[in-house]
Subunit: 447 residues, 4 copies
């Protein structure tokens, strides 16, 4: 975790305190269920909650205080984190705590806790996506009909609108939202099934109770651990979202290039672009997002490698998850929020867009002429040749010559197409007649 | 593609002939729709199908013959594959073919074709998963109550059944099937939207028609290309499935180890395990699957890197997809089929499983004694100490000593637990009382 | 392997025929050494070479013909490739062949063969790098003093020369050459050490003899297999080289953008840029290289995962290497050659470079003024403020205003710096005074 | 960074304080060089060092105190870290500080600082490797002739010694040490070349001076930034080392399996293996190392993706390096130290090794018999058949039958080989006759 790329709500999920609180809740709910089954005394369960509620009531922020240092000190001896935690809880609660963790194994707590943390992290990320979608939609509607050049291979192609660029991004992130909802469901499962998943020493009813209380579904079959294909799918999904962030960030970086300058990241008054060159305004936020995307993607492979645990489990996945659990979710949360800010405040230059659109001397209309020639009965090959020979002259003049004028002066062209028909092919509005259709597909309304 | 790791049905999807046939279908359906709209003459569309149907009728296998070498020769000049193909088709069909590809751009054909190929590949993979699930289920039911030792960290833990191991694998691959169905839907979209996705020169009705005919949904917003987050999600899903293959393969490899030998890959009569050591029977299929899983996982990152294309498109994704389109699907198809064969023919040794289960002198029952002591009023810490001091003796004897006998001889233990109660804790059946529950969760029936 | 991204010299290394020929050489040299040691009859070794030499003499291309289909047919029964090959050789050579492979294990042949193939592949790649370096150097010297704008963050910064851009690329690929030479040495080792690497049944002298004959060094300690950290390092090195290819390709893609157009990939007369837009010239070669770089990088992780084989060996690495051995080397060979062609034929537009350099109204000289102010005694903060307030006006005018004129009209500036000193800061040559120094560092001579 | 997987010496390199101290040193040395050149007053340089030395003298630990919070507060306004730092230094040093950073650009400081940090990190890692090599060597010599079974595919093959296993690991880590030394040289370069690397406003002599003072070499050609192929190579090398760690860790995990138990991680008195199963001793350290290896490998691809920066630089690499700079080096440092501890304290069970070696009824000697039969004139195919039919009986008896006895009772075998010759083939020492050779190759001495 890099503090400068972290936001509080997400990092709070991953503190030791937060983890130990989830552990407590899991253990206490399990003890409730064990009391229901008559396995442990009701008072044992009650004692846990009594301590918990009293501790919460006595604390300033309504959260039960956790003495992480004390637990760490116990772990330094036992070299086992759950035993250290249970020992500490016992010290707080007293003798009734001996019924805690009955028939359970450490992973019952650890894996269910991770499910809770990842589900909560997913909730934050889904909210992030909602905010981003909202920002993109607002700007898309604003620029629904702002003409700009469409580019393939970085080369001017045909006109689009800036709203269409954003509509594409909207659709992409809407898909990502759906994927994340599915991935959240994939990891939000509870396993309280004992040492090798047989429920030998713990009734499945305990698992069902804890699952319900913690907002999880029941893991159908566990083997001490929750199977890691679930987590692999989750982190792979984050990797896809990160790649979409990179795509939109790359678009902004291109638009802000000196020669293009069709849009710019917002540049606040006090900000300095360069220690050496005072005129510079750099797309540093989107370049940063490009790097952050690399990191979130980098966490995918370790998550995939975590799947093939040995037999009923080995613990190799654990260290990986101590990194990527926080790092992937915190980084992605930050990146989504940063991207949302970039889009919300993006400074768009429609005048420059029009200027760029015009700079190629009308080459962007070449295809329409090509089609018109074909429809006028010229063979495809000849049409292509006729258009290309004029287009190449414009290209080589760097936009000084006009394609329209050249075509009008080409007798082979005018022999097939009357001048007024050629002129009609240079109408910009023609390209935007289906923008409403596309907006209706993407936003459910044409705006 | 490595021929030895390829099966015909999948490789057939990726031949040049297969690709050109899909191209033709897309172009011909599009021409139909253009004729419906009155953009091109009905006869132009008809001429395409007439040639196609005549060619199919005249061919031995009912497939229209494609002269790949001729198309390649044209591409060598034009350096553009779609133009080369269209030129070749024109040569076959005659002058009516000049209406072909009206208002379309190459990517309309290429991306829609890739969607068709990936959807068909996904169908084969789903069928592969179905076969694998069937194989796993059969063996799971067969060994539902075959006792075997559960291991965490490679160390004996508590008893499970071999059927439970397979039930876990079944649930995992059932999840993978669901993920693949979702990933298939993600990539099965059709885009016929022109040079920058505005439908400037082609009506959206063409796209709708081609989509329906090719079994695809309509891409809501494209930018010459179908957005690559879809493909990234698809290949990431294949990477997760590959990781699950590695998990099950690793299990078999472990079980076949000389010292464990609880199961073995089927070893056919003519087969030789080693050129030097005639006694060897190696788990070479599952080792091979481990390697194949690495490859399919290796294709995930390039697919993720393909997402951030420049502006409306660049063509950097194309070379990547020429590799991973075939390589990932062909390899995964082969791997799933190989794994299915391994599971179907797996030689299982229940006697050896029981022998291994017994070799630790009853240590696998230690937890039950621990719990019984706790419930008899001994503190958790003392219970742990009492069990551990006896368990350690058994451990150090390498299973020569019996935990049951030691416990019965430990006065501190017998002071808390009567001997018959201790003995009752060493019952194997106790561990399997919830196997039905788990099977019902996984298979919808307890068997 | 994708045929369109493959060149013959490299693919020839990876054919079954080529592999079997290397196998034969290894086996025959080993038999020679065994004969020297008196382990097998001299005639047995001689018989091998007699057949080999006769077969070569009888063949049109001087290569011993290998009947791959026959060997495959034997493998279909034995399920073991080396045994299949030995059986086939025995059929060719006759009874003397029974001494073949004495005390050896399959991996002795397979791993040594892979070392030979990778070393030969490395030799081709080193030659590719040499050709690329030569091409870059030629163009760098040609454009040593061609002024162009340097850009950080895609924003105009200060002047550089086009030769400097290429000098950077030269230095980078020169480093890559060095790395590849080291990686080649890492994988070029021979192991003939028997079933578990103890030389129990084969004398180390055999290994030494084969190593010398095949141009390899001796593997100090093998365990049936050559350790895979060597191969991991090799493929990781290819991944670094691929990333450098992506860097230079990205530079060309940027330079060819419509708005920049400072350089262009060569566009041959017959070539068509787009089926729809006849005016387009797209940087498709460098976009393609970007994708190929993703693939070569994608092979790094499987190679790293291959390192942790179980005990003395498992065969999981083998399938991975059947893919990445050919795919990584063939793709990189093609990419290096393609990049060399791009650089050799790159169309450079110095006039456009100058035009772009001038388009910012002299902002590129802002830092020099900043420094001059500081040296004239103005505080750093004030200097920055003075320059920035004028720079921002130029920036907002899109280069219509001139920084020089504005500074000369700013009394706070002229109070600190005389007008002629301000003017002197706008000299382009000033920026190039150390180009010779840099060229001397990179090329060993200033040109 | 995960605190539990971090050691102080390495984390200290990556604190903000440490970074700012390196920044100061770079800036102050540069100012010295500028004073030498007469660009800035000598007193300006002196003022910097005066403050620095006074601050160090006044501090408890001899380090100049850095007020990170104050610098961060300035950065919150300027949004530029180097400017924030320079502003803070100016506040400390006074007016002379206005000569600081003359003609330099932020990256001159940042990239040179990163080079210093990575070089120092590499030094720690090289020391880690030395300690690990020492530990492995000690145990290798101790167990040079401890017989143990060699396994391929997890199946018993032929005898090796435990020392040989360790010798292999030694050779592998010795190679890794060499690679790391090369990678360190690759990243240890200094660039002080100004805004786009032309030295327009700073003389190359400054770079040379700073490089010498900071223990770096001079970057031949930089472009504001040091080229990232250097860093890619560095992190790729760490990924290879991590993979070797995984290999040795996996070996220990296998050896500690219940059924194998030839070696065990040291288990300290207070340690608890499982909260539920008191008898368990799990190889948790090596499982943990397996996970840590996945993380270090996961950082390779982001480093490779960092190479292709846009034009003279973009800042996308920076966020990546804020993660992987510390995370990769801290994790690898911890992992190497943990592995060293595992090896040093590894509990080795030679008795169990012998027991396992014997458990296959002598099958491990089968190859020698095969060779003897061949040399006695039996065809290779017949020899194989004779040995295999007896070997298979032993195999199926699970080691109850003895291969030696069966062979002696097989008339076809004894017809070719006298009984005493068969018996001689079952000598264990035979396998170890070249151990000295291998040790001499690896350690430079046979021990």
């Amino acid at each position: 975790m890099v503090p400068r790329y972290a936001r509080a709500a997400m990092t709070d999920l991953w503190t030791p305190e937060a983890r130990f609180r989830v552990w407590f809740e899991i253990e206490a709910h399990a003890t409730d269920a064990l009391a229901d089954l008559g396995v442990v005394p009701r008072e044992a369960a009650q004692a846990l909650w009594d301590w918990w509620n009293a501790a919460r009531a006595a604390s300033a922020d309504g959260q039960a205080p956790i003495d992480v240092a004390a637990i760490d000190a116990i772990e330094a001896v036992t070299k086992h984190d759950v035993i250290a935690f249970l020992t500490w809880v016992s010290e707080q609660v007293g003798p009734q705590a001996r019924y805690l963790h009955q028939g359970m194994t450490s992973s019952d707590v650890l894996d269910t806790c991770l499910a809770v943390q990842l589900a909560r992290a997913a909730d934050l990320l889904i909210a992030d996506l909602d905010a981003l979608l909202e920002a993109i939609k607002t700007r898309a509607l604003e620029h629904k009909l702002t003409p700009t050049i469409g580019r393939s291979h970085g080369i001017h192609a045909e006109p689009v609108t800036f709203g269409l660029k954003l509509a594409q991004a909207y659709a992409e992130f809407a898909r990502n939202r759906e994927r994340l909802v599915a991935a959240r469901a994939d990891i939000a499962t509870c396993a309280i099934s004992g040492a090798v998943g047989t429920f030998a020493n713990i009734d499945p009813a305990v698992e069902a109770h804890v699952a319900a209380k913690m907002g999880l579904s029941v893991e159908p079959v566990s083997t001490q651990v929750i199977p890691r294909d679930r987590h692999a799918m989750f982190f792979a999904t984050l990797g896809v979202i990160a790649s979409s962030i990179e795509r939109l960030a790359t678009e902004v970086r291109h638009l802000q290039r000196t020669e293009v300058l069709e849009a710019e990241e917002y540049f606040s008054p006090g900000q300095k672009g360069s220690s050496a060159m005072p005129h510079k305004r750099n797309p540093v936020l989107t370049e940063n997002l490009t790097g952050l995307a690399r990191m979130v993607r980098g966490y995918v492979t370790p998550a995939l490698e975590n799947v093939a645990l040995w037999h009923e489990r080995d613990i190799s996945h654990s260290s990986v998850e101590r990194y990527i659990g926080p790092d992937a979710t915190i980084t992605l949360d930050f990146a989504l929020a940063r991207l949302t800010g970039v889009i919300e405040k993006l400074v768009v230059y429609p005048v420059r867009m029009q200027k760029n659109l015009d700079r190629m001397g009308g080459l962007v209309h070449s295809q329409r002429v090509l089609l018109a020639l074909t429809q006028a009965g010229v063979s495809r090959e000849d049409s292509y040749r006729l258009v290309q020979r004029n287009a190449m002259k414009v290209w080589e003049s760097d936009g000084e010559l006009s394609l329209l004028e050249l075509l009008k002066a080409d007798p082979e062209v005018t022999a097939a197409l009357p001048v007024e028909e050629i002129e009609a092919k240079f109408d910009l509005g023609y390209h935007f007649k289906h923008v409403d259709t596309i907006f209706a597909r993407v936003f459910g309304t044409a705006g």
